[in-house]
């Protein structure tokens, strides 16, 4: 038996939150797909475990039950950033949100078996990679991508375009 702390009956007050299992059932596959693109197939599963554990930890403190999907994506994105940061040879180097194009750590080197399109996507500079993933994998429009990435709509459009151009070069080359 644990202490009362574990089963705290008052934390969620009168906020109506769905049973956590419902979130897991609804979003496991799409979040996994998202993470496979961001961190590769080997790390995606563990990243998703950590995403749900973090979400469960914070769950009773949520003030409302809206936009839970976006909330989960934010946590998944953060876990992916941590994973890429850990995987890089430069511990303090930029992660998925790194700045200087061409200097981001590539996770491609850790998955030699996967040399298809997705490895090429993962090798893109961080901003382009995020923009391309948000545009095509998550099917967001440029305004939404800008919001997620903290850029203008126009910058989001340019990131996607630059990412596609680079992908085409890499795939043809």
């Amino acid at each position: 038996m644990r202490s009362n702390e574990t089963v705290d009956r008052s934390v969620s007050g009168n906020v109506r939150l769905p049973p956590f299992q419902v979130l897991v059932d609804t979003h496991t596959r799409e979040l996994h797909r998202y993470l496979v693109v961001l961190v590769g197939p080997d790390a995606a599963e563990d990243c998703l475990q950590e995403t749900f554990v973090s979400a469960l930890r914070a769950y009773p403190r949520l003030r409302h039950g809206e936009n839970l999907r976006a909330w989960l994506y934010t946590i998944a994105h953060r876990k992916a950033t941590d994973t890429v940061r850990k995987a890089t040879r430069h511990p303090l180097g930029p992660g998925l949100e790194g700045l200087a194009p061409g200097r981001e750590p590539s996770v491609q080197a850790h998955e030699p078996a996967d040399d298809g399109l997705w490895a090429t996507v993962r090798a893109l500079p961080a901003k382009q990679r995020m923009a391309v993933v948000h545009r095509y994998v998550l099917d967001l429009d440029y305004r939404q991508i800008g919001e997620r990435m903290g850029t203008s709509e126009e910058a989001a459009r340019q990131n996607v375009r630059a990412g596609l151009r680079r992908l085409r070069q890499e795939m043809d080359g």
């Binding site: 089963v7 496991t28 995606a44």
Partner: protein, 202 residues
């Protein structure tokens, strides 16, 4: 949309064994002290049961006439939304129920979590929990044991909404005249349980 864009819109799903993934998640969450309620389906002679346990004990046992979604919503709202399908956390209850149905167990050792039962109803069900295997009592008697001898109708209501049937043996409560009375899971199930306990003949 050109070819490259089409490919990007259909990434390889990546192999994920969802069942294994979720079982692992349940264990990790429980180990971190983040799981308030574990639930799992369980096969029984009374059909599939959905059992819910907390670190305090067994919280709820739902028959299959109660929709899974509704059962989850109810415990999420009334106890905690930190709830996951975590079969291993229900192993002890599963083992005891299996033994009971096999005729090898006469009382349950798993503790009861009374969180879903309030006030007079809790008094009635605590009195009911004391009725031994193979014996029966009446609505009148459990009302009396709960401190309100005239409240046999209210006692009937409390028994009818017993969230932990089988373990809190409301099937052992009958009408004073000898009739079976009611059962939220259906009278057929009440008959089966009383037959297992030798109260009714085969």
């Amino acid at each position: 949309m050109n070819d490259l864009e089409r490919q990007l819109a259909h990434p390889e799903a990546g192999d994920l064994d969802v069942e294994r993934f979720q079982a692992l998640l349940g264990e990790r969450a429980a180990a971190a002290g983040l799981l308030d309620i574990a639930f799992a389906p369980l096969d029984s002679p009374l059909g599939q049961l959905l059992v819910f346990v907390t670190p305090r004990g067994v919280l709820k046992i739902a028959y299959d006439n109660e929709a899974t979604d509704a059962a989850l919503e109810e415990v999420a709202e009334r106890v905690s939304p930190r709830i996951l399908n975590a079969p291993r956390r229900t192993d002890e209850l599963r083992r005891e129920l299996d033994e009971y149905f096999a005729g090898a167990r006469r009382r349950f050792d798993v503790p009861v979590d009374w969180s879903l039962i309030r006030g007079f109803a809790q008094g009635v069900l605590r009195a009911t929990a004391k009725v031994p295997f193979g014996e029966t009592t009446t609505y009148q008697q459990v009302a009396e044991a709960a401190g309100s001898p005239r409240a046999s109708r209210a006692a009937g209501n409390a028994l009818g909404s017993n969230p932990i049937p089988i373990v809190v043996p409301c099937h052992r409560v009958l009408h004073s005249g000898g009739g079976l009375g009611g059962y939220a899971g259906g009278l057929e199930r009440k008959r089966t349980l009383l037959t297992i306990e030798g109260v009714l003949g085969d």
